[in-house]
Amino acid sequence: MNWLRELLLPEQATAYAGQVDDLFLFILYISAFFFFLVTALIVFFVWRYRRRAPNERTPKITHNFKLEVVWTVIPLIIVIVIFFWGFHGYMDATVPPRDALEIRVTGKRWVWQFEYPNGARTLNELRVPLGKPVTLIMTSEDVIHSFYVPSFRIKADLLPDRYTKLWFTPEKEGTYVLFCAEYCGTGHSTMEGKIHVLSESKYRDWLERGDETTQAMPLPELGALLYQSRGCATCHSLDGRRGQGPSFKGIFGHTQRMADGKDALVDENYLRESILQPQARIVEGYQPIMPTFQGLLTEREIQALIEFIKAQK
């Protein structure tokens, strides 16, 4: 019944996903059986016992002990089996192995921030080596978020002031989507990330040298990439539409009125300050909600973003 699995469930990128899917399909078969049984009985009774004369009498059947025991005990046994099956999978999913690679995850409106054991940091893009167990130690800086990777069949909430854990062993190279599954406001539906499963050697290269493809990119092009991947797009539009933050369209080189009543010219230094210390000066009419990107972007990446904003005429 592989076609059914492929129709109903996303791609499997971990062995654990297969385990979850087996239970999913088991429950599906049980459900389908009982649903069709109930529906068939309804249709059959409605047809077979349709009223033929207005004053029909019917037998008085008040109960049937044997039948009632059967329809209580059989479902009871089935649900107990389902319970243990689900419990078994859940224990596997919540107890990480000791030797797992530990990556720290911080959720904040509306970006995912990852920190690797060697101190490297990324935003919205998590890179993990193929075939190695990874434990995520997660927390939130503001409200509750939830780390959800459909292809891994895992999900856990990120709470402020507390750590929660999630672990997985990726078993297929590729890129998988990461969703925020706990409602967190305006950018909830765009709080997306990507998980890149790389071969062990590619992962090491990346960890040591960074991403070589982006290193060769011209600045505005790199900026465009960062604009999407670092979550700028959630709040800053490119077409002049007002979002949670000012649109980038035509912003460079113009003077803006700040919340404290002063004017500021949007130049390279202003943009740099806005990225690294967003609360320093807020454009009039907007809330001070932007997170700081201090330490999350390299110097070249900051310049790339500034060049990208410059190009939005």
């Binding site: 999913f24 429950i27 009985l41 689900g86």
Partner: protein
Amino acid sequence: MSSTHGDYLHEPKGWRSWLFTLDHKRIGVLYFWSTLAAFVLGGILAMLIRMELLTPKSDLLPADTYNKVFTLHGAIMIFLFIIPAIPAAFGNFVLPLMLGAKDVAFPRLNLASYYLYVAGTLILLGGILGGGIDTGWTFYTPYSSTTGGTVSLMVFGVFVLGFSSIFTGINFIATIHKLRAPGMNWFRLPLFAWGTYATAIIQVMATPVLGITLLLLIMERVFRIGIFDPKLGGDPVLFQHFFWFYSHPAVYIMILPGMAIISEVIPVFSRKTIFGYKAIAYSSLAIALISFLVWGHHMFISGQSQLASAVFSFLTFLVAIPSGIKIWNWLATMYKGSIKLDAPMIYAVMFLALFAIGGLTGLFLGALSTDVHLTDTYFVVAHFHYVMVGGTFIAYLAGVHYWWPKMFGRMYSEKMARLAGALVFIGFNLTFLSQFLMGSRGMPRRYASYVQDFQPMHVLSTVGSWILALGLFLILGYLLVSLRKKPDAPANPWGGATLEWETPSPPPPHNFDRTPVPTHGPYDYDREPALV
């Protein structure tokens, strides 16, 4: 049986006599129209949500507006419609009649409950004028303790509505205990009364917890007292425990009355004694009690302890059993019956099929490992709507079509009812079956925009919502049309054996000319049918 007096709709006269009425039937009717108005409002918001989701981008509504719209849709449908609709509208109207009583035990408390409902509704809706809220109907902290908007005001509205619900519950418990007709012992009670009784227990026991929780939330927002917000030293997960301690039993406040209607309709239209009377009655009580012990199944991924999750999962499966027993009992009632598919029965069998889907998909969510994948996705949205719309709302429609002649003295067009029933069935399944599919494939809920892959399923769902809406407007249409006809409903159009059918349609203000003495059980169909 005839009465020399006018019916309750026309006697006494004047608008004051309606606004200050202590007649349970009039209060039931006031609740009926008020909750229906809330449903129409909530339904319009649902249509807006579906329109927005027709395309992947958030284009029709900006994300902030979308968030407010789904919050309002949930809050209105739950607090203003589905919790009060069946107990407060039909319970008020029918329960005293079924018991052979003149009124509920505390008529003034009953009126107070209605006005608390109105006050709570006005406060809640007043919050929209102040800008609305974007917390979701679940008000999760710390989001709700920090976001802008009129959260405190609207939460206070829900707090007031809670008292309305408690008052109704207290009233029904006292009424069932004290006002049964002579000779009507507990096992001669119609099952609707049992269902209402179980519901009332939950209303009285669980609603105060919601009230306290919401009050704490207001205190945190207004006085900055740290209870749930970690920035103030609180614990956000504590809110979820408190909230679901009410809101899971509340799910049964919503479904038990629906089941209670089905337990009336199926025997009448199968003209057969209910199968397993005691099993149905006791399973209602069992559901009411176990429902207090399963709240943690909403929180498997919230960071609660694994042991707690395992215990909650197990108890959740236990609550599935009494619900399953009811389905078998209803089916067994139809066996060897004399079945007539009039409108109420059409909705009753529709309920059986849709509630079966709602219940069975609960198995996926009760099991721990599959829940982790499915929770907070559209699978939950679909499951919830199959239980609440496919279950409760369809049962509500069965009740509307069943008691309409009694309430308003008019018969509606049976032909139109069948057409509308078909539209509702097709529209509903199209809307929500597609949501199971997108949910199991990973589409998270509460998304204003989504990735391209999910679009075909969203389009199906939106088209389904149009068909569903068409069916519902048709129902509203032919029911309103029926009100303009001459009174034509006999006292007992369906051949029911419960006491409400022994008084004229619509009943006189005092219900019965003399106190009825039940000479037979509520489902005794082995005697000559009492068609009028």
